[in-house]
C-alpha cells in the first residue's frame, strides 16, 4: 500500500443522523461552528410524513424527516453560504473529480447508497440511496471516510465507493459531491431561529393534506386501527417499517424529536429565551412518547398472539397530541 497521498486534517464527530451530521461537519471544517441539532433545526429537518401510495419495498413511506438534501439546501439559504454541487455522467469522471478535490486538500460530502458500503453491518444494508458521508482523504486504494453515524472514521475501497455513488434507481445519487463555499463567519441566531421554528411549526400544524404533519400522525393511527381487518403478517411488516424509520435509520432517537429538543435548548440558551427552554422540555416528552410507541410497535411485531391494534393507535395519537401542543406553544411564544 502506498503512503497516504493526501489527507486533510478533519475532526470526525459522531452524530445522530447522516445529513445533519455531514452538514455540521462540513461547515465546521469551513470555520463555522454549528452543532448537529442546530443544523436540524435551522435546516428544517424535522417533519412527519406518511405517503400511503408511495411504496418502499411494498410498504408505504413513513418519514420523520424532510426530503433528502433539504436540510443542506435550507441551511445554505438560511445561513447565506453557497452550495457547491457536482453530479457526473460516468463513474470514472466522478471518481477522478473526487481524487482531484482530495489532492487539492478539500473535504467533500458525498451522497451514496447504504447497501454497497462494506463498512456498514450486513444487517443494516438496505437499498437506500440518500445516505451522506464525508471523504477527507485517500490512502492507497482506500478512501478515508468520516461517516457521522459511525462512532469512528471508516475506510472504503475505491470500487465499493464508486458502486455506492453511482447506483441507479430511486434517489439515485449520480455521484453527487458537495461542499459549502463563502461560508459566513458567524450566525445571527436572533434572526434565523424564530423563522426556522415557525417554518417547522407551520409544516407540522398547517398543511392542507393529512399526509404531512400532526394530521399525518393521526391519519397513520387510524390506518393502524384498520389493519386489524387485514392480513396480520402485512400488519406486522407495516408497523415494523414505521418503527425502523423512527429508530433504526439514524435519527438520534425518538424520530429526531430528541435532537430537535436539543436544538430548542441550544436556541433558548443562545437567545436567553425561557419559552424555548420550556419547549425543549416538552419536546423531550414528545420524544419519550415516540419511544413508547416504538416499544409497543416492537412488541406488536414480535408477539404474534397479542395484536393490540387499538393500543398502538392510541400510542400514536398520544404522540400527535404532544406534538400539536408543543408546536402551538412555540408559535404563540416565539
Amino acid at each position: 500500500m502506498n503512503a497516504p497521498e493526501k489527507a486533510a486534517v478533519f475532526e470526525h464527530r459522531h452524530a445522530g443522523h447522516c445529513e445533519t451530521g455531514v452538514s455540521a461537519g462540513l461547515l465546521r471544517h469551513h470555520g463555522l461552528e454549528l452543532s448537529e441539532p442546530m443544523a436540524l433545526g435551522l435546516g428544517n429537518g424535522l417533519t412527519f410524513v406518511h405517503l400511503p401510495f408511495f411504496k418502499v419495498g411494498g410498504l408505504p413511506l413513513t418519514s420523520y424527516r424532510n426530503l433528502p438534501g433539504a436540510v443542506y439546501k435550507t441551511l445554505a439559504k438560511t445561513l447565506g453560504f453557497k452550495l457547491h454541487r457536482e453530479t457526473f455522467r460516468s463513474e470514472a469522471a466522478g471518481m477522478a473529480a473526487l481524487d482531484a478535490h482530495l489532492v487539492a486538500g478539500h473535504v467533500v460530502g458525498l451522497q451514496t447508497s447504504v447497501f454497497w458500503l462494506p463498512y456498514f453491518p450486513p444487517t443494516m444494508r438496505f437499498h437506500f440511496n440518500a445516505h451522506n458521508l464525508i471523504v477527507y482523504g485517500r490512502d492507497g486504494t482506500d478512501y478515508l471516510v468520516s461517516d457521522p453515524v459511525f462512532e469512528h472514521p471508516q475506510r472504503c475501497a475505491a470500487p465499493d465507493l464508486a458502486k455506492a455513488r453511482f447506483v441507479k434507481g430511486a434517489l439515485a445519487p449520480k455521484g453527487l459531491l458537495y461542499y459549502p463555499e463563502r461560508v459566513p463567519a458567524a450566525i445571527d441566531y436572533a434572526r434565523v431561529v424564530p423563522r426556522a421554528i415557525r417554518r417547522t411549526a407551520n409544516m407540522m400544524l398547517r398543511t392542507p393534506l393529512p399526509i404531512i404533519g400532526v394530521r399525518a400522525i393521526r391519519f397513520l393511527a387510524r390506518r393502524i386501527e384498520k389493519l386489524a381487518q387485514g392480513d396480520s403478517r402485512y400488519a406486522r411488516l407495516f408497523v415494523g417499517q414505521i418503527v425502523r424509520m423512527q429508530e433504526e435509520i439514524g435519527t438520534g432517537g425518538g424520530g429526531f424529536r430528541f435532537m430537535y429538543a436539543a436544538f430548542l435548548q441550544e436556541a433558548g440558551e443562545r437567545l436567553n429565551h425561557a419559552a424555548l427552554k420550556d419547549a425543549s422540555r416538552q419536546m423531550t416528552e414528545t420524544g419519550d412518547a415516540w419511544r413508547a410507541f416504538a416499544l409497543a410497535g416492537a412488541k406488536f411485531v414480535k408477539d404474534k398472539k397479542s395484536q393490540d391494534f387499538a393500543g398502538l393507535s392510541a400510542a400514536l395519537n398520544a404522540c400527535a397530541d404532544r406534538e400539536e401542543k408543543v408546536f402551538r406553544f412555540l408559535l404563540k411564544n416565539l
Binding site: H14, F115, P122, V149, K168
Partner: protein, 131 residues
C-alpha cells in the same frame, strides 16, 4: 430521554460500533450518548432482514422446482424486489417480471445477463446458478 435511560442492549452485528442518541444529563443538558443498541430496534431490523430471507428461500424453492428463474432468488437475496430491480437496471417492470420466469431467463442475451449481474453486484456465472 435521560442519559441513564439510553438503551445499551448489545448488538453483536454492530461490530463494536455504537450509535449516537440525544439524551439529557442530570442537569437537563442535552448531549449525544453512544448507545450499544436497543431491543425494540433489533426486533424491527431482524424482521426486515428475515422478510428478505423468507422471500429468497421461497424463490429458491420455486427455482429448484423449475417454476421461477434464478434471477428471482438473487433479487431477494440482494434485498431487492421487482420495483427496485427494475429501477437499478433501468428496465421496464414487465420485462423484469418476464425474466423471473425460467423460459425467458434461459434466453437472455449476454448483454442483459451482464446488466442484471452488475445491478446485483454478482458475476454473470453466479447469476445463472443457485446455491
Amino acid at each position: 430521554m435521560r442519559k441513564t435511560d439510553v438503551p445499551q442492549d448489545a448488538r453483536p452485528e454492530y461490530g463494536g460500533e455504537r450509535r449516537a442518541l440525544y439524551a439529557v444529563d442530570d442537569s437537563g443538558r442535552y448531549a449525544t450518548v453512544p448507545s450499544a443498541g436497543w431491543r425494540a430496534d433489533a426486533i424491527v431490523n431482524q424482521q426486515a432482514v428475515e422478510e428478505y430471507g423468507r422471500l429468497a428461500a421461497e424463490a429458491l424453492q420455486r427455482a429448484r422446482e423449475g417454476s421461477a428463474s434464478a434471477l428471482e432468488f438473487h433479487m431477494y437475496d440482494r434485498r431487492m424486489e421487482l420495483e427496485t430491480l427494475a429501477q437499478v437496471t433501468g428496465l421496464w417492470r414487465w420485462r423484469v417480471r418476464r425474466h423471473l420466469r425460467p423460459a425467458h431467463f434461459a434466453r437472455l442475451s449476454p448483454e442483459l445477463m451482464r446488466r442484471y449481474a452488475d445491478a446485483l453486484g454478482i458475476t454473470v456465472e453466479q447469476l445463472g446458478k443457485l446455491p
